[in-house]
Symmetry: C2
Subunit: 82 residues, 2 copies
């Protein structure tokens, strides 16, 4: 399954708010064959990175859209290195 | 130890080239108290994300500088969510 990293900019709210939004993603993701794996937040600048597996960029985007409406500014299909 | 995500844009070269650069980071990182943990590459667009722990943004940047000279376009101090 392809892997994706998205970037959200100018996110308002705290880390705890994003934890809440992420939980909504987890409730929606199965419908779209997506698995949100981790996220990272720069709380000072309001930047959030989400790493997810899924069939396409659009599938991940649809999860965000239906879960809480906060869609990403960029989505990159990525290969992971260690 | 704080956690950081950096973004490199317009990286030329393949995933294997980035694997090589990352290995150079791993050789240099101890000198600066840094631990590069993972990276992700969008090979089509030449975007690379690096996740590292370290004392500061500058410490991570210095590792890239001394290892191979390919410094990041952005560095974000982040908190990880699951």
């Amino acid at each position: 399954m392809p892997l994706f990293m998205d970037i959200h900019r100018d996110v308002e709210g705290s880390f705890e708010d994003v934890v809440g939004a992420h939980e909504m993603d987890l409730e929606k993701q199965e419908e779209h064959g997506v698995e949100y794996k981790h996220f990272w937040m720069d709380e000072e600048e309001g930047t959030v990175f989400c790493l997810f597996e899924g069939p396409s960029k659009e599938a991940g985007e649809r999860v965000h859209e239906e879960a809480h409406g906060l869609t990403a500014d960029e989505i990159h299909e990525v290969t992971e290195g260690h």
